[in-house]
Symmetry: C2
Subunit: 322 residues, 2 copies
């Protein structure tokens, strides 16, 4: 069993160079641009830790781990186009630097490379890996579309919001942990449980993210507080607050949603989120989802000592220390 | 052995409905839009005919056949964005009807569906199918990038042009014929030969397409003659003509490339293409590529009678009767 640091070092060494073709350069420079903004490599880590937890040989999970990271980065490239985002991880986005067409095509080729690396895994495991990954990829595109659709709608429910974040972000984390389990030869029951671990971890992460966007420490969160509020983003936090409002509070909230003064809008809505109990209940929901994640992990049927690395990582993610 | 008409009927019946999820509708409507513009379904036909030629059960090739058509349509959606194309098969393009973001995302999900259908093939064949398809997809994106790059360059060589069309269009036809062979259990030597058949067929098709764009019967070709000439598109025909020009002709050609009068430009360049021998030599090159395709087909090691369906289709494609 390796520490997360050792695993990331192994991963970084393995993929330090020549992971893509180099020509035509106008196709592969944008790919290098996004891949060189090394993120936290959380998804590869989930693959590798899960594989080791089930007694698998981590070196056999490296290609799949890389595939998940390439896929994740591909979604960032195309999502940034759709969101008209100008920066990512403090750097200009791919379409800003290389233009729209290059960003579309670079994303496309990255998706093909994700499949290429995934299928470089042990051939006998490829059909199961592919089935999981195909389903996941399709859900992620559906989740992205739901997110786009929700911007135009005023009647989004909490259930719909949770389904959207499940598809848009959580299923990939779940896919990563199950991929590690498949590679280690875990049985289907254990695979499903470790999938749920990743899924609920992703859900709790996102619900907590919404809380931090509204109430976090700006410096620690790394972005301006109240961004979602200004965009009238229908997060779980806002939806629950709306549900808890009495008539007077609801009238006030609807007014604040149209308020132009940024400071007034943010502080007014923050206040309502607190006095209605929306903040408190959202926090409880995030805790509940995190507990579901941990329960799933504890039920996978491996000794507690083997689970400790994934458990520690989940706690770090939950506490924003990762 | 079935006729092409029977195969297409089987294919159409199999995929007459419910091939994609339906929700979110904003994601799947654009997919339906492009898929409903039923093209010639040439790529599925190549998969199915190749599978039958090698004695395979055609019903086992249907998912892969559909995968190739979905992939092909995905490339059209993204290429149309990049080319700012307004119509396709006489209908408005996806991004024209549904907007840029929907077109990007619809393309992405189609790529995932192509993989999904391909991997619904016989599990033991999936690793080989995937390896071929991944390589092909990557080449196609590289070919599209080369095509974009060539617009900005004045020093494209014939070799580079042939490599570009090989990647951009021919490798998918080759992938289709080899996919049929893999599914039928053909040996690797036969697979390579039937791959070459598809590859050279695609190349000869494209070189002939360039000839028709400059000299075809507008009504039969279905587009305005001289389109490539007006765009200064560096086709094999233009590149060969440039190479054959004497100094006076080259000066004349360079002048015509900057000519604003459309009629003068088209007729002037057509004239040079003929008197230099550029037209004749390009025609010979297309014939030579077609012959290479047929030679590859004849060497696959199946009885001539089994080859006749693919042979007939190749001839039809070559004569623009398909």
């Amino acid at each position: 069993m390796h520490t997360p640091e050792q695993l990331l070092q192994l991963y970084d060494t393995t993929f330090s160079k020549n992971n893509f073709n180099t020509s035509p350069t106008n196709l592969y420079k944008p790919v290098e641009h996004i891949m060189s903004m090394k993120g936290k490599r959380l998804r590869p880590l989930l693959v590798m830790l899960s594989c080791e937890m089930f007694g698998g040989d981590v070196t056999k999970s490296l290609n799949a781990a890389f595939a998940m990271e390439v896929f994740h980065n591909f979604t960032l490239v195309h999502d940034d186009i759709m969101d008209k985002a100008e920066t990512r991880r403090g750097m200009p986005t791919v379409h800003k630097v290389f233009g729209l067409n290059a960003a579309i095509l670079a994303g496309d080729v990255m998706l093909a490379y994700a499949y290429k690396y995934l299928t470089a895994s042990e051939p006998a495991k490829v059909p199961a890996l592919m089935e999981l990954f195909n389903t996941t990829a399709i859900q992620i595109f559906e989740g992205q579309q739901m997110d786009v659709d929700f911007e135009e709608r005023d009647d989004v429910t909490e259930e719909e919001y949770l389904k959207m974040i499940e598809y848009k972000t959580s299923v990939l984390m779940a896919c990563c942990t199950q991929t590690g389990a498949i590679l280690a030869g875990a049985d289907i029951t254990a695979q499903k449980k470790i999938y749920d671990f990743g899924l609920y971890l992703g859900l709790s992460f996102q619900v907590r993210d919404d809380l931090l966007d509204a109430f976090g420490d700006g410096k620690k969160v790394g972005k301006k507080i109240g961004g979602d509020i200004l965009l009238n983003k229908k997060t779980f936090l806002l939806l629950r607050t709306m549900r808890l409002c009495n008539d007077a509070q609801r009238a006030q909230l609807n007014e604040l949603l149209r308020e132009k003064d940024e400071h007034k809008k943010i502080s007014g809505i923050q206040h309502l989120m607190q006095i209605t109990g929306g903040y408190e209940q959202t926090k409880n929901e995030a805790d509940r989802l995190f507990q579901q994640s941990i329960s799933a992990l504890e039920s996978v049927g491996v000794p507690a000592a083997s689970r400790s690395r994934l458990y520690d990582l989940a706690c770090k993610i939950n506490n924003r220390d990762y």
